[in-house]
């Protein structure tokens, strides 16, 4: 290998239970470069970065750092090899001080005479913060006194503090305001200056092109391509990310949207701590796309529609009449179904049979005097298993060992079985292989034709553009723009609104 290469990724594969997150991925990263890593959600960006940073460990393949094979079992070890990761989700712990957060897991550094010297730690933390140009955060302060952006900045400081050889930034920009971003970019610059390398993951391609020297594209866990300099043209990148022109065959084919004007779900002036003045109407047979950055409030809105959260003010109305959705049960009674973003923990019961999962919320329908006997359950579940073509060994098989797509189908089967006519789907295709995605899109179309109304919450713009009759883009809890279905809509158009 030549001395310019810092990191060689060789044939990395990783699968979570049945879904393949990474397939035989291999590419190199040079010293001192800022490398972008792009791909749709579920294309394996985060998985890869987590493997490099030692959060996960790969099923097969190896990572070579400076010519030596790197096998780390924990982020702390990775840190010792000079690899730092800024994670996508919240990485700070409430209830402990900023300093303790910055040096979480490495308190030993400050042990003198068997005790952690917190004064020293605070000073160190102050330094760390100053290094990235922050001086208004008291390192002794409890993190829960800070807002999300400040917490992210603390994580940046934490990552930069060790002057990593390789700094991995995983979709951090999303949570940051312009000020925060400028800090992040200056950090990236200075890492580059002292000869370090940065692996930068983001959705925002403009930003990416500005910051990065080169960019690597992943698609569905497969390495596609790496291109440098002027070759980084946003649209080409997109094409490569998605692997097809937008409006590819397996999205909806019809260009204009036919929607009955019967309103099934209405939201008026809803406020919560995460949502600001939400107003929209959902019509029968409409697919309403909700897009935005992951913390823009669309997921909260989804929970709200299903009665998991209550609006602080404002009203929700189903079929014209105002309803108080105190809890999911209430929502279900109003024939609302919900597919949560974190499917495995919230939408289905992994350690329970497919049959039970499908029947669970329809039990009252298939039971006599409250008794639901196997015969009936089998008939019921079979009917929906066949309708949705769920691949399985047997009905009494546990959901845990189904593939992501089939799990998703089980959830849908559950709601269709219940006869819910309003479906709130939060990232229905997250972490699912192309094939199944397609099936789910088809299904959505069918449902649309049958007159179901669907709220499609998604972080994948092509999906939104491809599927929805209307797209609402949210930003910091507000609906910032509404776009009717038309071939003119492009991702860049939406992204502009999102950021």
């Amino acid at each position: 290998m030549d001395s310019k290469t810092l990191l060689e990724i060789q044939h990395i594969s990783k699968s979570f239970s049945q879904t393949k997150a990474l397939r035989e991925v291999s590419f190199n990263i040079m010293r001192g470069e800022v490398r972008g890593l792009v791909g749709e959600n579920g294309s394996g960006k985060s998985t890869l970065s987590n493997i490099i940073a030692g959060v996960y460990c790969q099923d097969s393949g190896k990572i070579i750092l400076n010519g030596k094979e790197l096998n780390v079992s924990s982020p702390i070890e990775a840190e010792e090899h000079g690899i730092a990761l800024i994670v996508q989700e919240i990485g700070t712990i409430e209830g402990v001080s900023v300093a303790s957060n910055i040096f979480l897991g490495s308190e030993k550094k400050f042990v003198s005479k068997g005790l952690v010297n917190y004064r020293k730690m605070n000073e160190e933390a102050k330094k760390a913060l100053n290094e990235i140009g922050i001086d208004n955060i008291n390192p002794a302060l409890n993190v829960e006194k800070l807002n999300l952006e400040e917490r992210k900045i603390i994580e940046i400081a934490k990552a930069y503090y060790i002057h990593p050889k390789l700094l991995i930034v995983d979709e951090t920009a999303n949570a940051l305001s312009s000020h925060g971003r400028s800090i992040l970019y200056s950090v990236i610059k200075s890492v580059k200056e002292y000869g370090g390398t940065v692996l930068f993951i983001t959705h925002d391609l403009e930003e990416l092109v500005k910051v990065c020297d080169g960019v690597t594209i992943l698609r569905d866990g497969i390495y596609i391509d790496t291109c440098y300099g002027e070759k980084m043209v946003i649209n080409d990148l997109k094409v490569e990310m998605v692997g097809r022109e937008i409006n590819d065959h397996y999205y909806r084919t019809d260009e204009e949207s036919i929607v009955s004007d019967k309103v099934v779900l209405g939201v008026t002036n809803v406020y919560t701590s995460a949502l600001k003045n939400i107003n929209f109407e959902l019509h029968e047979g409409e697919i309403l796309g909700l897009g935005g950055l992951s913390d823009c409030g669309m997921h909260e809105l989804g929970r709200l529609l299903f009665g998991l959260d209550q609006p602080y003010s404002g009203t929700i109305s189903c079929y014209g009449e105002t309803k108080k959705l105190k809890n999911p049960a209430e929502a279900i009674r109003n024939s609302i179904g919900y597919l949560s973003k974190n499917r495995d923990t919230e939408a289905i019961i992994l350690q329970s049979s497919i049959k039970d999962n499908i029947c669970l919320c329809s039990l009252d329908k298939i039971s006599k005097f409250g008794f639901a006997f196997p015969a009936k359950e089998n008939v019921f579940s079979e009917q929906w298993i066949n309708k949705l073509k769920i691949k399985l060994k047997s009905k009494s098989q546990y959901v845990a060992d189904l593939s992501g797509g089939n799990k998703q189908k089980v959830v849908l089967a559950k709601w269709l079985g219940r006869g819910s006519s309003i479906l709130v789907l939060d990232c229905p295709t997250r972490g699912i292989d192309i094939g199944v995605k397609e099936a789910i899109y088809e299904l959505m179309n069918e449902l649309k034709d049958k007159g179901h109304a669907i709220v499609l919450i998604s972080e994948e713009l092509p999906e939104l553009i491809g599927m929805s009759d209307r797209i609402l883009i949210m930003k910091q809890g507000k609906i910032v723009c509404e776009k009717k279905r038309s071939p003119q809509i492009t991702e860049s158009l939406l992204i502009k609104d999102m950021i």
Binding site: Y56, N327, R333, I348, L360, G370, A372
Partner: protein, 324 residues
């Protein structure tokens, strides 16, 4: 944790065997205990007379275990079962002097009340189940001491007639059948298991978890009341320590019956019956062999921990995803 995934696809075969073992070992356990003791005691334990005693002695246990199944299947514990039995028994004994039917009703009513309180504390106020019920246990034991101030509370002579094996058998059988139906086939039973397997998902399937929990504790309490009634009939009086340590017996019984400690879809009704029987035979046998209090406790404790360890590690191997 993640590393566990590496071989998630492999070792399906051994998994299958483990699964079979987990389902079979309660039966095996029962056989071992019965045969073992009948050999040790040169057949004394399997005489009909003794078998009847075993039934009489484990009657209360059978009832409460069946009821506790509903709770444990939703990953809840009740440490106040014994105290509830004591309290209900005391009340029943006290009232029996005026009227036996009323005594019967009031025993169940008291149990129900206690159960509802537990349900409220855990289900509504969300206090950790074990702590809440443990506190409840201490309160009840305290009250029991005050209630029994005047000495033990004796039952009315007329009540002795009720201590008749046939009657108990009928009641027990009926109770078991009802519980079986409800646990395996009724919506409620299914919801219990669902909660144990995945609470959030169950909530998002529109199950009112609070209600399920409160009902569970209420039923537990009522059953404990019933058990208390028959316990005092059996002993002839309620004492400050009536029903001592029953909750632990229940836990052991369920574990021995092959119940997963945190409930879920793997819980079957047979666990209750088999477990209770194993424990009944075990207790009876250990007395027949003349084991003292401490060896008895130690044996029970060790068996408990061991079976727990065995089944739990196996289940852990079987469904790692659960804890990811």
């Amino acid at each position: 944790m993640e590393q566990k995934n590496n071989k998630s696809l492999s070792s399906n075969n051994s998994d299958r065997w483990m699964g079979i073992f987990i389902n079979v070992f309660p039966f095996v356990g029962l056989l071992i205990v019965i045969i073992g003791f009948s050999i040790f005691s040169s057949g004394a334990t399997i005489r009909l007379s003794n078998s009847i005693e075993v039934f009489n002695q484990s009657f209360a246990l059978l009832l409460v275990t069946a009821a506790a199944l509903f709770l444990l299947s939703q990953d809840c514990l009740d440490m106040s079962i014994g105290a509830t039995i004591g309290m209900a028994g005391a009340v029943a004994a006290y009232i029996s002097k005026t009227s036996i039917p009323i005594a019967f009703i009031s025993a169940i009513a008291v149990g129900l009340l206690i159960g509802l309180t537990n349900g409220f504390l855990h289900g509504v106020l969300g206090i950790n189940a074990m702590i809440a019920t443990l506190a409840m246990q201490f309160i009840l034991r305290g009250l029991l001491l005050i209630v029994c101030q005047s000495g033990t509370i004796g039952i009315a002579i007329g009540m002795y007639a009720l201590d008749n094996t046939a009657l108990k058998f009928v009641i027990c059988a009926a109770f078991m059948v009802v519980c079986y139906l409800f646990f395996q086939y009724h919506i409620y039973g299914k919801q219990c298991k669902a909660i144990g397997a995945g609470k959030t998902a169950t909530i998002q399937s529109g199950v009112n978890v609070t209600r399920v929990k409160v009902i569970g504790y209420a039923f537990m309490g009522a059953t404990a009341g019933l058990a208390g009634f028959f316990t005092v009939i059996r002993t002839g009086a309620a004492m400050y320590n009536t029903g001592n340590m029953v909750e632990f017996d229940v836990l052991i019984a369920l574990i021995l019956g092959g119940m997963p400690i945190n409930g879920g879809a793997d819980s079957h009704f047979r666990s209750a019956i088999i477990g209770a029987l194993i424990l009944g035979v075990l207790n009876n046998g250990m007395i027949m062999l003349g084991l003292g209090t401490y060896p008895q406790l130690i044996t029970k404790g060790l068996i408990f921990i061991f079976v727990l360890a065995l089944t739990f590690t196996m289940r852990y191997q079987l469904n790692k995803n659960k804890r990811l």
